[in-house]
Amino acid sequence: MVTSKRADRRTAFLLIAPTMLVLLVVNIYPFLYALYISAHTFTLGRPTPPRFIGLSNYRDLLDDDRFINSLWVSFKFVTIAVVVEFLLGFALAFLFNARLGGLAILRKLAILPIMVMPLASGLVWFYILNENFGAMNWFAVLLGATQRVRFLTDDSLAILSLVLADAWQWTPFVMLVMFAALQSIPEYVYEAAKMDGLGQWQTFWRVTLPLLSSAIWVVLVLRVVDAFRMIELIYLMTRGGPGGATETLSWYIYSTGFLDQDLGSAAAEAVVMIIVVTIVAQIFVRRLRYGEAT
């Protein structure tokens, strides 16, 4: 504002300080504390004081097959889920963008899954995919399956079942954001493309897609980060099984820390995870920052 005096600076400080204080307590300090814990042996509920062991916890991670496996499972889950959600949601956004009656109401119904408590969605999918009485098996029999499909206990199917439940919740989110981005493209852009003699495909590749690019980035980064941290569906549907087939990094940290009660190792894993997420998130933040500067 025009008046930039010392009083103003004090007001600004008083306005921002409470938020920074909360974030200091719940974000910055815990991160430093995680670094500290990760350099110690630290067992939950045992009276022995933590002992400094330097980088041992990190070195152990390199030899830990379960840790390596969890990175691979996370990578698989995030990739499959985000690709499925993005392609479906993107295509559906175009369909919902058609000028046809009734689509507005259908759109409102379509986005309902976004707000469902993830744990409740895990619960319903756990029920639907049940081997013995689940509705999905009923459909499978209807479509000619000769024996029960083991959606949650088969080595290769289990992770796809998680993707199914995740995509159920988040494909509507991709659709919603891409739809809003499509709506924000003014009509004259398409008219100009038509006058320049661009065909439908050319218009899509050379006009529509570039205009959607920032929305696409935002959606992809949000989905990658959130799929990476997802834990509720695993908690309810597979608990990392069968045989580690759905043990993602998030689940592994949770189970090392609070099921095996080995906080030191869990903290080392957590630090690795925070670093990975920070790198991905920087893509998002950089883009927003770049967008604001211009």
Binding site: T3, T19, I37, L176
Partner: protein, 287 residues
């Protein structure tokens, strides 16, 4: 003549087929989206036996027995205790987050000082912090301060997690208000705080509504911190729900009844939010 007419007929046939295909795809998608919700609600209305019958029972006489069991039958605490916990934690943490976040957002949007943008982007970046990465240190901090199994611990953690997007979204809203309105108020003798409370805040009401609702949804749905920090008496509804899955004989009807009660209030919120949903969910990057 005949050929053009034929071509027009053919293209209108294509158009009709195209329209039909769009409706078909969209309805399949909506049906897929609604099916699990349908299963949850109908299962909550079945009798105990019907919930795990094979083949699944599609037509039945609804009963409210499961709701009755969840709410009124004694045997430990009933669902209403945990629903109440959820309501307390949700209301406090979203009110706090929006109040503090609005202050910070206004400070960031309206005052120039060095590091302003760095602070704004730092606050945004906390949205990406993976909760499971912070759970170990936060657990130990809460344990040390004797706040395990208390609503206060959850309220503080949720407030901080909501602050990132609340601050960011409201900063966008404040930046959109023409500055002249506030300058005029200053000339009229308002203090800075009065300008903030009486002039600026009322102008961003839609933003406040959107952030309150998004914070409420987040706090209501959060499971990970709740399960670790408040596993007992202070447990919120997702933790209570998770407890069912640990028992050997799952009471599906009651399980789904609690699930339905946990999910329906949020659905109603969602419908109210529609207009600002995208802006809120993407930090104003997409409107």
């Amino acid at each position: 003549m005949a050929t053009t007419k034929e071509a027009r007929l053919r293209s209108s046939g294509n158009l009709r087929r195209g329209t039909f295909a769009i409706y078909l795809a969209v309805c399949l998608f909506v049906g897929f989206g609604l099916f699990p919700l349908y299963m949850m609600i109908t299962t909550s209305l079945k009798t105990d036996l019907q919930t795990f019958e094979w083949p699944p029972v599609w037509i039945f006489t609804p009963t409210f027995q499961s709701y009755h069991n969840a709410l009124f039958v004694f045997g430990g605490r009933s669902a209403d205790h945990y629903l109440l916990n959820s309501i307390v934690v949700t209301l406090s943490s979203s009110a706090l987050a929006v109040f503090l976040g609005a202050m910070a957002a206004y400070g960031l949007a309206r005052f120039r000082f060095s590091g302003n943008r760095d602070i704004a982007f730092y606050i945004l970046s906390t949205r990406f912090a993976p909760p499971v990465g912070f759970i170990v240190p936060i657990y130990l901090m809460v344990q040390r301060s004797g706040l395990l199994d208390s609503q206060l611990a959850l309220i503080i953690v949720y407030t901080s997690m909501n602050l990132s997007f609340v601050t960011w979204i409201l900063r966008g809203f404040f930046l959109e208000i023409p500055i002249e309105i506030e300058e005029a108020a200053l000339v009229d003798g308002y203090t800075r705080w009065q300008v903030f409370l009486r002039v600026a805040l009322p102008l961003v009401k839609p933003g406040l509504a959107a952030t309150v609702i998004l914070s409420a949804i987040f706090s209501w749905n959060e499971f990970l911190f709740a399960s670790i920090l408040a596993p007992g008496d202070a447990a919120t509804i997702p933790v209570y729900l998770a407890g069912f899955s640990a028992s050997m004989n799952i009471d599906w009807g009651e399980y789904m009844a609690v699930g339905t009660m946990a999910v329906l209030p949020i659905m109603i919120f969602t419908l109210a939010l529609q207009r600002h949903l995208v802006r809120g969910l993407t930090f104003g990057a997409v409107r």
